[in-house]
Symmetry: C2
């Protein structure tokens, strides 16, 4: 007979750590560096702080041969993390602050915890986290992971005074710097190219420092969170949006009653029914929605808090104007009529039925105006005034399908995106490649499945470029992608181009840089190394590359002419 088990998500990623990029000491050292550096840059971006990131890798024993234990430390000048969040942020898998619809490097709530996990299972050492959000007081934690339970174990916790804001995280893990070193230096180098406003210092095991100072002094605007676009919608998402905007009658338990008392400022007092109603109507504008609903219910029941705590609301039948409750004292069910003339009647019905479809569309989605909403309801064959709380399952599916298929919604709002920009990209490529020819382009915003994205590309040719043939540098949300290029959409697009048509030989010293930014990058793997070939993304990359290739062709032919001239 089969024996069944439930495993926690940390247990899942422990067993299958290859999926997250922790397959061997070489790759793990690289991935751990990435995860911590990307966290530091995300934090600074979000807080509008010019990042200053310090990364050091030190062998525990220099004499030992690779693979061997290393101490990896990443320090930043970012906003740090509040003390109460630190154990969970680093000690729990699927816990983080980047689950909203916003452009960021992180998205899974896994990265840092996986690096710490890998360190722990190879050296048994705890992670040391030091965080100072205000630059005055610093919390220092030593944490171990309970991998089976997905919980942190706090080994130590101190606070002390400091003079610098920021976060530092330090782990001891088994790595292989002799094999990973080149890739790590590439990563630092390329991060600097795509994040020209960041200063990065890397101290390697030999004590050698690689210092990348910022090339530009202005920060891009921090990415902002946006409302969803209708094309990204499935039935589950719609249900949840409706659950937010229209809710069931809240459970009137002791916790709820406490909340009502608190909002009415009646924490200690036990007023009678009419006094409560008077208080409520005075404070009405400031009351939260749940409390308003409870007050409305109380207005029909004509009960004070004491009596309210002795019943349980069972049913609200709007159509028949009946409210049913279970009386614990009497052990029986009671039904009362709801007076539709009561000022509280509307409050109750609106809560159960929710807002109209038109209001739902225009308020909860980005860029849907009144006219478009009306046009859509006609397309979907749904009444504009339909109360969303009263929609059947069938109607929900019809709504979700129609939202996907309707073609007249405006394309997604790209103002939430933070692309690099043509100027900074050009400057960065100029500094890094010192080419004879350099051209960049930023495509207009586009979208896949309702997620806005922008593709930026650059081509550099000749000059100090040493490599032979096309070398492709891929970036996504300002992260350099250095592995698995064989199954990345960018390589697919680059390889489909016949470069000879643009007067470029196949062994030409050519560099192609590609950067995609989006509120959600469609990575193929948890290790975030390659991007899926969504048709919309592929199309944007192709158009960008063809534009740049034509510019290069013009340059090549001019140069060809110039050389012909020289020969004469």
């Amino acid at each position: 007979k089969e024996s069944f088990n439930q495993i926690s998500p940390s247990e899942f990623f422990y067993r299958n750590r290859d999926l997250a990029g922790f397959s061997n000491p070489t790759r793990s050292l690289y991935t751990a560096v990435r995860e911590f550096v990307e966290n530091a840059l995300d934090a600074c971006d979000q807080a509008g702080i010019l990042p200053d990131v310090y990364l050091s890798i030190k062998a525990v024993d220099d004499e030992q041969a690779d693979p061997k234990p290393y101490i990896l430390t990443v320090k930043d000048n970012g906003p740090g993390i509040d003390s109460k969040h630190i154990p969970l942020a680093f000690g729990t898998v699927l816990y983080g602050s980047k689950f909203g619809l916003k452009q960021a490097r992180g998205m899974f709530g896994l990265g840092a915890t996986m690096a710490i996990l890998y360190g722990q299972i190879t050296t048994n050492k705890p992670v040391v986290v030091k965080s100072s959000p205000d630059g005055q007081s610093q919390d220092e934690y030593e944490l171990l992971l309970d991998i089976q339970k997905n919980k942190p174990i706090i080994v130590k916790h101190n606070t002390k005074e400091v003079s610098k804001r920021g976060l530092s995280v330090s782990i001891c893990l088994e790595g292989d710097y002799s094999k990973a070193g080149a890739k790590i230096r590439d990563y630092v180098y390329q991060t600097s190219l795509i994040t020209p406003y960041a200063t990065i210092t890397f101290e390697d095991p030999k004590g050698e420092k690689f210092h990348q100072t910022k090339i530009v002094k202005t920060m891009p605007l921090p990415p902002t969170i946006i409302k969803p676009h209708p094309h990204g919608i499935d039935v589950e998402t719609i249900r949840r949006m409706m659950a937010d905007s229209h809710f069931q009658i809240p459970t009137v338990d002791n916790k709820m009653i406490e909340k009502v008392r608190k909002e009415l400022g009646l924490k200690k007092n036990n007023l009678n029914y009419s006094e409560i109603m008077e208080k409520a109507s005075k404070r009405w504008p400031g009351l939260s929605r749940h409390v308003r609903v409870v007050i409305a219910v109380m207005s029909f029941l004509k009960m004070d808090f004491e009596k309210l705590s002795k019943i349980r609301i069972d049913d609200m039948d709007i159509a028949n104007k009946i409210l049913a409750y279970w009386d614990f004292g009497e052990s029986k069910s009671v039904s009362i009529d709801l007076d539709p003339e009561s000022e509280y009647y509307k409050q109750l019905t609106n809560t159960v039925q929710g807002e109209t479809l038109i209001s739902f569309l225009t308020k909860r989605f980005q860029r849907i105006g009144q006219a478009t909403a009306v046009k859509f309801t006609a397309f979907a064959n749904l009444k504009p005034e339909k109360r969303i709380g009263t929609m059947t399952n069938q109607e929900l599916v019809k709504l979700s399908d129609s939202l996907q298929k309707f073609e007249d919604f405006l394309s997604p709002d790209p103002s939430c995106l933070a692309p690099l920009g043509e100027e900074p990209l050009k400057k960065g490529m100029e500094q890094f490649f010192k080419p004879d020819f350099l051209e960049v382009v930023q495509r207009g915003a586009s979208a896949y499945s309702g997620f806005p994205f922008i593709a930026e590309m650059g081509i550099a040719y000749g000059g100090e470029i040493k490599s032979v043939g096309q070398t492709v540098y891929r970036f996504a949300n300002r992260i350099p992608l250095l592995y698995d290029e064989g199954s990345d959409v960018v390589l697919k697009v680059v390889n489909e181009i016949d470069w000879t048509r643009y007067k470029v030989k196949n062994d030409a010293p050519l560099v192609i840089v590609s950067h995609i930014c989006s509120t959600r990058i469609p990575y193929k793997t948890v290790g975030k190394e390659n991007v899926a070939d969504r048709p919309e993304i592929e199309r944007e990359l192709r158009l960008a590359l063809q534009f740049l290739a034509r510019k290069l062709a013009t340059f090549m032919s001019k140069r060809g002419h110039a050389e012909m001239e020289k020969k004469r």
Copy 2:
């Protein structure tokens, strides 16, 4: 200020369903078919039942254009699932029966639930599961998923009488058969090639039936679970193995006391101390280990159950022969001496200290004999008689490192693997390709990171093979892999071969079949479409392929000679 959230694993895979192969209606329909068919075959394999799997895909509305809702049903004649496990098996992510170290198609505890999730978010319909483990009574469940909480919602549950054993699962999901159809038919076709003892019937949306009857009538032996091999070991795994084989003093709380009472058969009685000890010594051989430890503790404390429930054991200091406990009644800490002459003394010390290192190595790992264990302890610089419960963290890390590096362990035991075998592979390839030349080879067992694996390969040339150039069929644990060949280790090996050296033109009608079976396939993605290029696997595939290529070269040159002869 950042707002932190914890998401459940089902929420994680809902948001990132691309990772599991559910990126669009075409791919999702394919992946859903795979997940259910692979579950059916795993279940039959495990129970030693010749599989008979029925798969049907029916459009809800034939007139509608793709993508549109389909009803996907997979029925098998397997052992079914017991009623109490069904909601969790299908309604919870990371819940399953395949987490042990055994060869199986499934390994994540995700597949079926993901298919059901995708169906639910595109059509809002529940999954219907019918299971009859005994062929007489069948449980039928309708389930929905609570994606945010990772829990099933039981919509319906009936039982009825039936006459056939097996399980059937049916979902309604949005798919695109016009695009996925070819891949699905390939999948069924290739599954039949690699599972020649299975009968598979596929009924497509047009009602057309593809019937693959079994080619061989004997089942391979069911895969067996094995002990771990030392090379697959990290510190976390060692800790857990030790926690099983040597435990701390169990917590003596009310639950524990209940357990002791139960095992002594004293559920109702409140015997005094000496009566309890007498009962215990009578029943000693049948007592579980935890209970024995508690009895031993009680023998030193000289307490009955009543008194025992009023204290908390704080420390067991074996070296100084002291037991310390907190007395709740007196609110003070009490220390008593442990009499080393007592018959229970040995019981306690063995529990705290655990078994010897030699015993741990020979009992808990596969294929470590006494002599190898002694040789290893010398290599690791640890005493053979060291009690594992007394090892420091440093020593644990040293043990784990040494287990990885020691070169004289026997290679892993492959008897737990179930390869296809040269005969069935040859038969299958003969039937499917009807070639002029056919050669297969099964390599001996090898291992990567302590996981045993066997590579089997076959080459077919000419005859009825229509395709031009090398067509590669990849299989892993009897699953056909039809996507992402670009980043699979098999393609890497095939492309590195210079076929002209073996007298094979690049446009030759050549088919290469590769099958890897292991207790753990190192997939690169949760969608199980490509295998990572672990060096040991790459090497085995390369040696197999070179062997087959040489055989083909011999055939080609003989054929070359024969044609030369003809011309004369």
